[in-house]
Symmetry: C2
Subunit: 375 residues, 2 copies
């Protein structure tokens, strides 16, 4: 048994470089200027990724990405606001749940989880219901892996004069997002996703034009992004103890992101990972759940093989024993599993992953991974 | 200029061992059984620290300690509850602020920041106001460094039939806390304090007897400790992406805590650190803000020297250049600074810190660090 690190084919936490992890071998005072300089550098770099220097600020927040989504809704939406969540998957449902729970009026607009949300349907809905103040969109719904039409949704919201909150957790730094042409009030991502840092913090881009109006919206002290922003601008520090090691790892991950060539280069690598994966899995009989034209090259949902010898737990364990960590499906009606294309991995690792899956099928006595007819 | 790590004499983040940091050189799948086993081990170890296996459960939470304090209040106090905060410092005021902000009725009972809170005064107040449902106590108020009388306050709350929420951020794992004899509904601490892990997560001990009654109290999804608990028991996983590297570093820090001899041994080392510091600083003329009998051996507040050449920023920078990170004061009326006694350091480091301060005073031309007469 070797002790070699397994490859994480998951939507985060994901495989990071050794260089990123090595940045954590030092302790930092959270009040100290050295650390504050790291925070400032990270914030400047994040703004550049979306070309948001002139239009937005960015506010980092402790916790997982969901903490930042909740903080964004609490900070941006007034207490008497009305949020419309465009729902085509599990993360949309989570956003709706946290919005209702905090006491904001929330309406869910259902879409097929195998399809992007419809900007035209949204436009009609906003026209029909002027009480809606804000729209929530998940850019890449990792429940199934759908890429939603951010630009078109943003244009509809702008034309209708409504706010837009974008959960870009799984797309930020990989799919293009340009704040100069796409208007959003808040956009959320996290350290342990396509920037390839370690998990432990999120960050929210807030549109400068709405910043002052956000004061006092949040019922949560810890999640008040306006308060966090004002304090950080004044002191250069975080309000409450930052996850110092996570922050310095993110700074190191961002340096590598920039050296690689930024968002374009990262998308190119993930696209190669995606193509290598899907082509290889097709040779084994696997069929993706989504049509290629709506699939983001971030995470791929595959139908479970129809062969009765297939069992996800056994399949997962056997692939794991060969060094690859797969991810369970998150769809309610169809049996699936997911494979992430993101992290500090390239086509080599994806080829090896496909090969490990092939050997796993052999072990399980499964001749073809084809799904049941008709799916 | 050497690149040697500076010693953090701060109340967290603090200096951790290399062994703790080395644990972060691996990536973990948050859905994977290996990682879930680490979470389970950490939770079991935490319960043992307070002998709480029979009476309490422990729920870890992403974010800084303040996130866990807010989560504890939101989860434990019903929406129509009434919280009394025993206030003798800055962290008490923060607890009151987050309680009010989330919409819970909150009353603040003021005490001198140089003195522990009074259990007798609390008893009288609880008798006079039956509407108070919960009391919030900060065990070690790191604003000044006071050790508050946890056991006596707990006894008063139990006798009066009120709930008790304890912020034990800076005391947990150093000062003795015994859940078998001290009754509390919630007790909060964090990874980057006396357990000497890295910052990025907190954890809350909840009394089993009140657990079921906590369902539905929280308006926050991310901070709902009851929901986090139920999910974790069912799946062994965290609800939302955990800070995996922080969790494994905490597991490694706990292993070293247990090897050192647990809470008793840790308190003994911190007490030696404290005595070395205070005796050394006294030789230079420094006077602690608190009387020794109310001082916890966690963080010491010193009066600023009266010498007009003293300036905290210059003092901080000069001590920093010599390898030691001090901490600013947090008192509103008196000029002070603070020195932490906690972290992976011993009397050697404290002797060196005192020597660095002595050389710093020489550099600044300050003959004696004595405070103004009369303080």
């Amino acid at each position: 048994m070797t002790d070699r690190d397994k490859i994480l084919l998951t939507p985060g936490p994901l495989t990071t470089t050794l260089r990123t992890k090595l940045a954590m071998l030092r302790d930092w005072g959270s009040w100290d200027s050295d650390f504050n300089a790291v925070t400032a550098r990270v914030r400047q770099s994040l703004l550049r990724v979306i070309h948001g220097q002139d239009t937005h600020v960015v506010v980092p927040l402790q916790g997982s990405g969901t903490f930042s989504v909740e903080a964004a809704v609490a900070t941006v939406v007034p207490r008497d606001g009305h949020v419309l969540v465009l729902d085509n998957g599990a993360y949309c449902k989570r956003a709706a749940r946290l919005t209702s729970l905090m006491g904001r009026r929330c309406t869910v607009m259902d879409f097929d989880e195998a399809q992007p949300v419809s900007p035209a349907a949204l436009a009609a809905r906003l026209k029909a219901d002027p009480s809606i103040t804000h729209v929530v969109l998940i850019h890449c719904e990792t429940g199934a892996g759908v890429r939603n039409p951010l630009e078109a949704v943003a244009d509809v919201c702008q034309a209708a004069g409504r706010g837009l909150i974008v959960d870009a957790m799984s797309s930020f730094a990989a799919l293009p997002i340009d704040a100069r042409r796409t208007r959003f009030d808040a956009l959320i991502a996290a350290s342990g996703k396509c920037l390839e840092g370690v998990p432990g913090m999120g960050f929210v881009f807030l549109r400068r034009a709405i910043l002052d109006g956000c004061a006092g919206n949040s019922q949560s002290l810890a999640m008040d992004l306006h308060d966090q922003y004002v304090y950080m601008e004044k002191t250069t520090q975080w309000r409450f103890t930052p996850p110092t090691h996570v922050v310095v790892a993110l700074a190191e991950a961002i340096a590598q992101f920039e050296e690689e060539g930024g968002q374009g280069a990262r998308l190119a690598r993930y696209t190669r990972n995606y193509e290598t994966l899907v082509q290889g899995m097709a040779r084994l009989g696997f069929k993706p759940f989504l049509a290629p034209d709506v699939q983001a090259p971030i995470i791929v949902t595959f139908h479970a093989p129809a062969d009765p010898r297939y069992d996800f737990k056994a399949f997962y364990a056997a692939a794991r024993a060969r060094g690859f960590i797969l991810y369970p499906g998150k769809l309610t009606t169809v049996e699936t599993f997911r494979v992430g294309c993101i992290g500090a991995i390239g086509p080599n690792e994806m080829e090896q992953a496909v090969h490990a899956v092939a050997l796993t099928l052999q072990d399980m006595g499964i001749g073809s991974a084809a799904p049941a007819p008709g799916v």
